[in-house]
Symmetry: C2
Subunit: 117 residues, 2 copies
Protein backbone atom coordinates (compact mmCIF):
# COMPACT_ATOMS: atom_id res chain seq x y z
CA UNK A 1 0.00 0.00 0.00
CA UNK A 2 1.16 3.45 0.84
CA UNK A 3 2.12 4.14 -2.77
CA UNK A 4 2.03 1.14 -5.03
CA UNK A 5 1.95 3.11 -8.25
CA UNK A 6 3.58 6.53 -8.06
CA UNK A 7 3.08 7.06 -11.76
CA UNK A 8 3.69 10.72 -11.28
CA UNK A 9 6.32 11.77 -8.81
CA UNK A 10 5.10 15.26 -8.20
CA UNK A 11 7.74 16.06 -5.65
CA UNK A 12 10.52 15.27 -8.09
CA UNK A 13 10.18 18.20 -10.43
CA UNK A 14 8.50 21.48 -9.52
CA UNK A 15 7.37 21.25 -13.12
CA UNK A 16 6.94 23.85 -15.69
CA UNK A 17 6.14 27.53 -15.73
CA UNK A 18 2.59 28.88 -15.40
CA UNK A 19 0.39 28.07 -18.35
CA UNK A 20 0.09 31.79 -19.03
CA UNK A 21 3.82 32.31 -19.29
CA UNK A 22 4.79 30.08 -22.19
CA UNK A 23 3.20 27.22 -24.12
CA UNK A 24 3.52 24.03 -22.14
CA UNK A 25 5.61 21.32 -23.75
CA UNK A 26 4.28 18.06 -25.05
CA UNK A 27 5.62 15.78 -22.34
CA UNK A 28 4.88 18.20 -19.52
CA UNK A 29 1.34 18.49 -20.82
CA UNK A 30 1.01 14.74 -20.56
CA UNK A 31 2.03 14.68 -16.93
CA UNK A 32 0.05 17.70 -15.86
CA UNK A 33 -3.09 16.72 -17.75
CA UNK A 34 -3.12 13.48 -15.76
CA UNK A 35 -3.36 15.51 -12.55
CA UNK A 36 -6.21 17.68 -13.78
CA UNK A 37 -7.93 14.65 -15.21
CA UNK A 38 -7.90 13.07 -11.78
CA UNK A 39 -9.81 16.05 -10.44
CA UNK A 40 -12.10 16.07 -13.44
CA UNK A 41 -14.64 13.74 -11.91
CA UNK A 42 -17.19 15.02 -9.39
CA UNK A 43 -16.80 12.03 -7.11
CA UNK A 44 -13.02 12.23 -7.10
CA UNK A 45 -13.12 15.98 -6.55
CA UNK A 46 -15.30 15.51 -3.49
CA UNK A 47 -13.09 12.73 -2.15
CA UNK A 48 -10.05 14.94 -2.68
CA UNK A 49 -11.72 17.86 -0.96
CA UNK A 50 -12.82 15.63 1.89
CA UNK A 51 -9.25 14.56 2.48
CA UNK A 52 -7.82 18.03 1.94
CA UNK A 53 -10.15 19.60 4.45
CA UNK A 54 -9.91 16.87 7.05
CA UNK A 55 -8.75 17.58 10.59
CA UNK A 56 -5.08 16.77 11.02
CA UNK A 57 -4.57 16.60 7.28
CA UNK A 58 -5.69 13.02 6.95
CA UNK A 59 -8.78 10.88 7.00
CA UNK A 60 -9.63 7.22 6.82
CA UNK A 61 -11.73 5.91 3.98
CA UNK A 62 -14.65 5.32 6.28
CA UNK A 63 -14.79 9.04 7.07
CA UNK A 64 -14.88 10.28 3.49
CA UNK A 65 -16.73 7.58 1.59
CA UNK A 66 -20.15 9.19 1.81
CA UNK A 67 -20.24 10.55 -1.71
CA UNK A 68 -23.16 8.65 -3.13
CA UNK A 69 -21.46 5.73 -4.85
CA UNK A 70 -20.72 2.19 -3.74
CA UNK A 71 -17.74 1.49 -1.59
CA UNK A 72 -15.76 -0.37 -4.29
CA UNK A 73 -16.23 2.65 -6.53
CA UNK A 74 -14.85 4.89 -3.81
CA UNK A 75 -11.80 2.68 -3.59
CA UNK A 76 -11.40 2.77 -7.34
CA UNK A 77 -11.42 6.57 -7.37
CA UNK A 78 -9.01 6.83 -4.48
CA UNK A 79 -6.65 4.61 -6.41
CA UNK A 80 -6.86 6.96 -9.37
CA UNK A 81 -6.05 9.91 -7.12
CA UNK A 82 -3.07 8.01 -5.75
CA UNK A 83 -1.80 7.14 -9.21
CA UNK A 84 -2.10 10.77 -10.23
CA UNK A 85 0.16 11.73 -7.35
CA UNK A 86 -2.47 13.76 -5.56
CA UNK A 87 -3.00 11.56 -2.52
CA UNK A 88 -0.95 9.24 -0.39
CA UNK A 89 -2.26 6.41 1.72
CA UNK A 90 -1.08 4.45 4.71
CA UNK A 91 -2.57 1.53 6.58
CA UNK A 92 -2.78 1.81 10.36
CA UNK A 93 -4.57 -1.06 12.01
CA UNK A 94 -7.89 -1.73 10.41
CA UNK A 95 -8.10 1.56 8.64
CA UNK A 96 -6.37 3.15 5.68
CA UNK A 97 -5.61 6.83 6.04
CA UNK A 98 -5.35 9.21 3.12
CA UNK A 99 -3.56 12.55 3.05
CA UNK A 100 -2.58 15.10 0.43
CA UNK A 101 0.62 14.50 -1.47
CA UNK A 102 3.06 17.16 -0.29
CA UNK A 103 3.35 19.52 -3.21
CA UNK A 104 0.39 18.48 -5.32
CA UNK A 105 -1.69 21.53 -4.53
CA UNK A 106 1.12 23.99 -5.02
CA UNK A 107 2.15 22.54 -8.36
CA UNK A 108 -1.34 22.84 -9.80
CA UNK A 109 -2.02 26.19 -8.21
CA UNK A 110 1.20 27.61 -9.60
CA UNK A 111 0.40 26.36 -13.07
CA UNK A 112 -2.90 28.20 -12.99
CA UNK A 113 -1.65 31.35 -11.35
CA UNK A 114 -2.92 34.38 -13.24
CA UNK A 115 -0.43 36.68 -14.92
CA UNK A 116 1.73 36.97 -11.75
CA UNK A 117 2.84 40.65 -11.90
Amino acid sequence: MSNPLPVLDVTATPCCAPLTRSPIGESDAERVAAMFKALGDPVRLRLFSNVASAEGGEACVCDIQDVGVSQPTVSHHLKKLREAGLLESERRGSWVYYRLAPSALRVMSDLLSPVST
Copy 2:
Protein backbone atom coordinates in the same frame (compact mmCIF):
# COMPACT_ATOMS: atom_id res chain seq x y z
CA MET B 1 -20.04 31.66 -32.38
CA SER B 2 -18.51 33.74 -29.68
CA ASN B 3 -20.17 31.63 -27.01
CA PRO B 4 -22.86 29.33 -28.26
CA LEU B 5 -22.87 27.12 -25.21
CA PRO B 6 -21.92 28.86 -21.99
CA VAL B 7 -22.66 25.73 -20.01
CA LEU B 8 -20.73 27.13 -17.12
CA ASP B 9 -20.95 30.81 -16.46
CA VAL B 10 -17.80 31.18 -14.50
CA THR B 11 -18.16 34.88 -14.01
CA ALA B 12 -21.54 34.46 -12.36
CA THR B 13 -20.46 32.96 -9.06
CA PRO B 14 -17.00 33.29 -7.54
CA CYS B 15 -17.70 29.73 -6.51
CA CYS B 16 -16.88 27.89 -3.44
CA ALA B 17 -14.11 28.01 -0.88
CA PRO B 18 -10.71 26.37 -1.42
CA LEU B 19 -10.87 22.59 -1.51
CA THR B 20 -8.71 22.52 1.60
CA ARG B 21 -11.09 24.63 3.61
CA SER B 22 -14.27 22.58 3.64
CA PRO B 23 -15.65 19.62 1.69
CA ILE B 24 -16.99 20.81 -1.60
CA GLY B 25 -20.70 20.34 -2.12
CA GLU B 26 -22.25 17.97 -4.59
CA SER B 27 -23.47 20.51 -7.13
CA ASP B 28 -20.38 22.69 -6.88
CA ALA B 29 -18.28 19.60 -7.44
CA GLU B 30 -20.16 18.95 -10.63
CA ARG B 31 -19.46 22.41 -12.02
CA VAL B 32 -15.87 22.58 -10.94
CA ALA B 33 -15.01 19.06 -12.06
CA ALA B 34 -16.13 20.03 -15.54
CA MET B 35 -13.48 22.75 -15.59
CA PHE B 36 -10.69 20.47 -14.44
CA LYS B 37 -11.88 17.79 -16.79
CA ALA B 38 -11.46 20.20 -19.67
CA LEU B 39 -7.80 20.60 -18.76
CA GLY B 40 -7.44 16.87 -18.24
CA ASP B 41 -6.42 16.14 -21.80
CA PRO B 42 -2.88 16.85 -23.04
CA VAL B 43 -4.05 18.33 -26.32
CA ARG B 44 -6.55 20.63 -24.64
CA LEU B 45 -4.01 21.65 -22.03
CA ARG B 46 -1.58 22.67 -24.75
CA LEU B 47 -4.24 24.56 -26.66
CA PHE B 48 -5.24 26.34 -23.47
CA SER B 49 -1.65 27.21 -22.66
CA ASN B 50 -1.07 28.40 -26.21
CA VAL B 51 -3.95 30.81 -25.88
CA ALA B 52 -3.07 31.82 -22.34
CA SER B 53 0.49 32.68 -23.24
CA ALA B 54 -0.30 34.41 -26.52
CA GLU B 55 0.72 38.00 -27.16
CA GLY B 56 -2.15 40.38 -26.53
CA GLY B 57 -4.10 37.73 -24.70
CA GLU B 58 -5.59 36.20 -27.78
CA ALA B 59 -4.70 34.06 -30.74
CA CYS B 60 -6.37 32.76 -33.84
CA VAL B 61 -6.79 29.05 -34.33
CA CYS B 62 -4.20 29.00 -37.07
CA ASP B 63 -1.57 30.18 -34.58
CA ILE B 64 -2.20 27.52 -31.96
CA GLN B 65 -3.32 24.46 -33.88
CA ASP B 66 0.09 22.87 -34.16
CA VAL B 67 -0.42 20.27 -31.46
CA GLY B 68 -0.13 17.09 -33.46
CA VAL B 69 -3.73 16.28 -34.22
CA SER B 70 -5.98 16.96 -37.18
CA GLN B 71 -7.79 20.25 -37.67
CA PRO B 72 -11.26 18.86 -36.85
CA THR B 73 -9.87 17.46 -33.63
CA VAL B 74 -8.42 20.83 -32.69
CA SER B 75 -11.80 22.41 -33.33
CA HIS B 76 -13.47 19.75 -31.23
CA HIS B 77 -11.18 20.40 -28.28
CA LEU B 78 -11.55 24.16 -28.51
CA LYS B 79 -15.29 23.68 -28.33
CA LYS B 80 -14.88 21.64 -25.16
CA LEU B 81 -12.79 24.40 -23.64
CA ARG B 82 -15.45 26.94 -24.57
CA GLU B 83 -18.23 24.83 -23.10
CA ALA B 84 -16.26 24.48 -19.89
CA GLY B 85 -16.12 28.26 -19.61
CA LEU B 86 -12.35 28.43 -19.95
CA LEU B 87 -12.09 30.11 -23.33
CA GLU B 88 -14.07 32.60 -25.37
CA SER B 89 -14.01 32.99 -29.11
CA GLU B 90 -14.81 35.69 -31.58
CA ARG B 91 -14.77 35.79 -35.35
CA ARG B 92 -12.98 38.72 -36.99
CA GLY B 93 -12.77 38.53 -40.74
CA SER B 94 -11.52 35.18 -41.87
CA TRP B 95 -10.12 34.20 -38.54
CA VAL B 96 -11.52 33.11 -35.21
CA TYR B 97 -9.72 34.46 -32.16
CA TYR B 98 -9.62 32.73 -28.81
CA ARG B 99 -8.90 34.32 -25.45
CA LEU B 100 -9.10 33.28 -21.82
CA ALA B 101 -12.44 33.59 -20.10
CA PRO B 102 -12.05 36.46 -17.61
CA SER B 103 -12.01 34.74 -14.24
CA ALA B 104 -11.41 31.15 -15.24
CA LEU B 105 -7.82 31.07 -14.05
CA ARG B 106 -8.52 32.79 -10.77
CA VAL B 107 -11.44 30.52 -9.91
CA MET B 108 -9.40 27.37 -10.40
CA SER B 109 -6.28 28.78 -8.81
CA ASP B 110 -8.22 29.86 -5.74
CA LEU B 111 -9.79 26.45 -5.38
CA LEU B 112 -6.38 24.86 -5.29
CA SER B 113 -4.69 27.42 -3.12
CA PRO B 114 -2.75 25.72 -0.33
CA VAL B 115 -3.79 26.30 3.27
CA SER B 116 -4.11 30.11 2.92
CA THR B 117 -4.07 31.39 6.60
